[in-house]
Symmetry: C2
Subunit: 142 residues, 2 copies
């Protein structure tokens, strides 16, 4: 079996609000495969999808109720330390919530967290131990 | 700002159990960047990380409690319809739970869902409308 992750879908309460944050605010460009009820955004080798929260639960055949920590975080790794501050400013301006202020991390980098309007957590991290390729791909050692 | 997603981290109750599922069961190969408390797995341009659930919440400075639907799903897109059944069998054999049996989907493909031992939901989907590149990358139309 090939080692692969194709899509990460974030459940959102209001797709228009999510679009405002990710597309208008962060500047992510939606694919033309997006439809009225779903937004697809190319993220390197995978797609980020934004889809109605309750419809996503229904698709997975689970009850839609839930709360508290989701047990999942996303990370955006930057090329420079300065970009962490820039991206945090942009995320807050776009309607995100700063969760952890940017600071030196115990693993040797510089990191912060924001939450998107639906509470999905993103770490913004500059990690000098992790290599980014020319297209922004994260390249782990084998 | 570059359009990028670098890491998705799944909170897990027991890293040894998570390793058994993802590494021994599904056959994903951990990077040598993995450490005692964290497993990193290269997934195309991003990394999948497995990390203690409570420590992940602490890192994001949120309370660790939570339950119900997480509002996030992952997807593994296959090259063929048959692979959906094969991967579902493998996931269940590895200790995952079949959530939705494989069936024709209303968007024209064939899909199923499983939950990993911590309840993280994975869709396994054959989607003839979405192109996979030679390295398994999902290629959306612009």
């Amino acid at each position: 079996m090939e080692q692969r992750l194709s899509i990460i879908t974030l459940g959102v309460a209001d797709l228009k609000k999510a679009r405002k944050f990710y597309v208008d605010g962060l500047g992510f460009v939606p694919s033309s495969a997006s439809q009225e009820g779903i937004i697809f955004i190319q993220m390197g080798s995978i797609a980020l999808a934004l889809f109605n929260h309750d419809a996503l639960a229904e698709d997975a055949t689970v009850p839609p109720s839930g709360g508290g920590f989701r047990g999942v975080t996303l990370a955006y790794n930057t090329r420079t330390k300065e970009e962490v501050d820039e991206l945090m400013k942009l995320a807050v301006k776009a309607g995100g919530r700063a969760m952890r202020p940017a600071a030196e991390a115990n693993w040797g980098g510089y990191a912060a967290y924001f939450a998107d309007p639906d509470g999905h957590l993103w770490e913004v991290a500059w990690n000098p131990n992790f290599k980014l390729g020319k297209n922004g791909e994260l390249i782990l050692p084998k």
